[in-house]
Amino acid sequence: MKKPLFTTSEWNFDLIQDVDKVLGDLAAEFGLDTYPNQIEVISSEQMMDAYSSVGMPIGYSHWSYGKQLLSTEHSYKRGQMGLAYEIVINSNPCIAYLMEENTMTMQTLVIAHACYGHNSFFKGNYLFRTWTDASSIIDYLVFAKNYISKCEERYGISAVEDILDSCHALMNYGVDRYKRPYPISAQEEERRQSERAEYLQKHVNDLWRTIPKSATADAQKNTPRFPTEPQENILYFLEKNSPLLESWQREVIRIVRKIAQYFYPQRQTQVMNEGWATFWHYTLLNELHERGYVTDGFILEFLQSHTSVVAQPAYDSPYFSGINPYTLGFAMMSDIRRICENPTDEDRMWFPEIADSNWKETLQFAMKNFKDESFILQFLSPKVMRDLKLFSIVDNDEEDKIRVDAIHNERGFRKLRENLAGQYNLGNREPNIQVYNVEVRGDRSLTLYHYMHNRRPLGDSTPEVLKHLHRLWGFDVHLHSVDGNDIKQSFHCPQQSS
């Protein structure tokens, strides 16, 4: 038996270095490919700062981050909530924050979880590979922060705040889902920014050059719609075509859009990302223990916090707040390993292609090529559904009771799996809204269509969001909820008196 790396709960920098070295070697042994790590030890106040800037090390100033900070601070100081043990940033090198209050066991857990789990996910998963560029994000944030503060100096804090508020309201509609943007560095961004400003203004003016005159019915029929095809990236559309914005305002829209795009993969891979990181901290730390690097006391402390991370309260528990992505992800990842190593007959029937395969390769494949929706559809096994006792309900406003649609039995497995996957489909979760038409020759009003999914209407805050859209567009804005060809509900800004 070799001497353990540490026996007390106090941490110090040498110990962290040693532990990181051992974990790094182990991770490489398991075939994890990672960016270099940058481990930063911070205090709890700094952690709260990081919280309020959506986990990024730098960001532009906005009151909503202050609101976040105040509420975190308030709950933390009153002991209503703990802070996360770590924050990890998808950048190259991969930055992970460790809190100084953590014990050595927690630091080890966090290093395994963030620096090897999340890090390898960021580097491997196809969404992150296509949509984000880890090496340029920090650069871009620096550019954004400087640009926004320059705008504040020139145009006043309130003017910039107004635009940012409006952009934030539409942030989820500032994402390209099919085109891949290519990353550029801050310097280049700055250089291009001025070119872009000039070009854009010219381009926009061109579109609006005709003096608006009252359109006859005849003319309306003949002119093609603008945009010729519906646009789902609303912020992009506004940036390029909104008639009244100044070029700095367009640039602000662009910044918000870029940041939304950066977070887009994270929103689609929560279960996988957390599951992967949890699976690996579990595997790595158990391996540490097996090889005698850590004591039994360590493993008990670790298991205690691991268990609370992957706890899943039942639907009727007061603590229930949806499915815990850590639980689901960890259960599925561990189950894939089980299927590869000790498959049952059921597994052989459901997963003939992965049963008895090399578990490391299979997990790598799963991590690299899927997002939550497809991952669940592909890999959720009957065993996991049974263990979590999943069931699916249908709430149809045309029936007066909620119906249980499927439960964890032979008949229900496939249905359950489909429904659960659908729950992680961003396309289902967020209302599908697209820019449909602009009255180029008329009153310049903007029309958007909401294509209803399962007859679900828009929420109460829609009129508020429409006000923001109106601010960015400058002329009347109409939003119609359509189901098939019928308009079910219409929102207007400014409100129409009818």
């Binding site: 705040e161 309201a169 649609d405 659908g422 508020e464």
Partner: protein, 424 residues
């Protein structure tokens, strides 16, 4: 390869600017919450920071999301009793499954947004938009503190304060001045030497040539002897001490403790005095308080006695004013002190006395005071004292104010009324 960095020493208030932005944006709501809090708080923690709540619906950030209704599927964990095809009644209210989408404007169920203000921020909001009237005297109070300011260049000083540019410049000047004549000679000799060297060696005046060469060597040597830097070249930055102007204020709290003042009335008075004290403290570096209580005769007391002991008896307000005048004469020269008077009473006074009060105030107190405020805490009709004071206020609207308080809720508004910024 991993890098481990200790960031704990970095600034921790990176988000402070965002916090400020938030406070700026919701200034009005917070101000209202603060003024409510001031009235509700107990006296001892009136000036603490602390929990503030503003309505959640004001600070929402709207986004587009699905509303209720339509066809929804949901997967939940922890099934215990359900089988396929079971029907469950919709939970009433609450958890959002309710059909019909008739939530209408009862969306007010949004929780208040609570957060913590620091003491400094709390006081900022509390006294926002208020100012002390007649801030004229900011007397230098002598010897207490100095600050160092730059006072040009001196020839003597500490080595640490040496001004290198000036020193080298003066060294350069000295060298130029001392070597001027010699360098001119040297130039002439060099020119002569050049002339001599043009002549072929055989025809040259050899003696003169030797002489010139020697002279040149001598001159060069003596020029090089001039020291490059001499002690009297050294120049130093001069720092001179300047006294920091400090302003001092003294506040006189005058309270009637006669039998007619009950504990509740005193409590109100105390709150008012505390507000005033906090406000003065923010405006002056040094604030002293003098407590004077009176019934038929006045007495200077300490804080505890001021608020807690009770006496009975009649009321002679002028006795307190008289005492205040004496104390000013003794200890607080109006030349050096900003003097503020605050008087609280239930309005009772002995009949003849009110006119005496007027004389004392007008003749001796008001000229030396920055501001004198009188609050009357009563639910009854005003009496003679109020009428007299009212006439003083018309005479001296700049430095005298009076207000009427009925209950605890009035204190803060009245306080704001007394000190609100007057737009010039």
């Amino acid at each position: 390869m991993s890098y481990i960095i200790d960031r704990r020493l970095n600034a921790k208030n990176k988000s402070a600017v965002n916090r400020q932005r938030f406070l700026r944006r919701y200034r009005e709501q917070i101000q209202k919450a603060v003024s409510d809090a001031v009235n509700e708080r107990s006296i001892t923690d009136i000036d603490k920071g602390g929990k503030i709540s503003i309505p959640g619906r004001d600070i929402n950030e709207p986004i587009i999301h699905h509303g209720q209704g339509g066809y929804n599927e949901r997967v939940l964990p922890g099934n215990k009793q359900f089988s396929e095809g079971d029907k469950i009644a919709r939970p009433q209210g609450g958890s959002g499954q309710g059909g019909g989408g008739k939530a209408s404007d009862s969306g007010e169920g949004v929780d208040d947004f609570s957060f913590t203000l620091s003491q400094e921020e709390f006081l900022d909001f509390m006294f926002d938009g208020l100012e002390l009237p007649n801030l004229v005297k900011r007397q230098l109070s002598g010897l207490e503190e100095f600050k160092s300011v730059r006072g040009g260049i001196a020839n003597e000083g500490q080595p640490g304060r040496m001004n290198i540019v000036r020193s080298l410049r003066s060294a350069n000047m000295r060298r130029l001045a001392l070597t001027g004549g010699k360098r001119r000679q040297l130039q002439e000799l060099n020119a002569e030497l050049a002339e001599l060297e043009k002549i072929p060696e055989a025809h040259r005046d050899y003696i003169r040539y030797r002489e010139v060469v020697e002279l040149i060597a001598k001159l060069e040597h003596s020029i090089s002897k001039i020291p490059w830097l001499d002690t009297f070249d050294l120049k130093y930055n001069l720092m001179i001490k300047q006294p920091i102007p400090r302003s001092k204020a003294v506040m006189f709290c005058i309270m009637d403790v006669s039998g007619s003042m009950d504990q509740a009335t005193k409590d109100i008075a105390k709150r008012f005095f505390i507000l005033l004290y906090l406000f003065l403290q923010r405006n002056y570096e040094k604030t002293e308080i003098v407590f004077i209580r009176h019934h038929t005769s006045a007495k200077e007391v300490d804080e505890d006695e001021f608020f807690h002991s009770r006496e009975t008896g009649g009321t002679v307000v002028s006795s307190a004013l008289q005492l205040m005048q004496e104390i000013i004469k003794d200890r607080y020269s109006p030349e050096q002190w900003n003097i503020y008077g605050a008087q609280a009473s239930d309005g009772d006074n002995w009949g003849e006395d009110s006119d005496v009060c007027r004389d004392i105030l007008v003749d001796s107190l008001l000229p030396s005071c920055q501001y004198f405020s009188y609050i009357e805490i009563t639910n009854n009709e005003h009496q003679a004292l109020w009428n007299v004071y009212e006439s003083i206020q018309q005479q001296y609207p700049e430095s005298f104010a009076l207000q009427h308080i009925r209950g605890v809720g009035d204190i803060y508004p009245v306080f704001r009324e007394l000190f609100h910024k007057k737009v010039a």
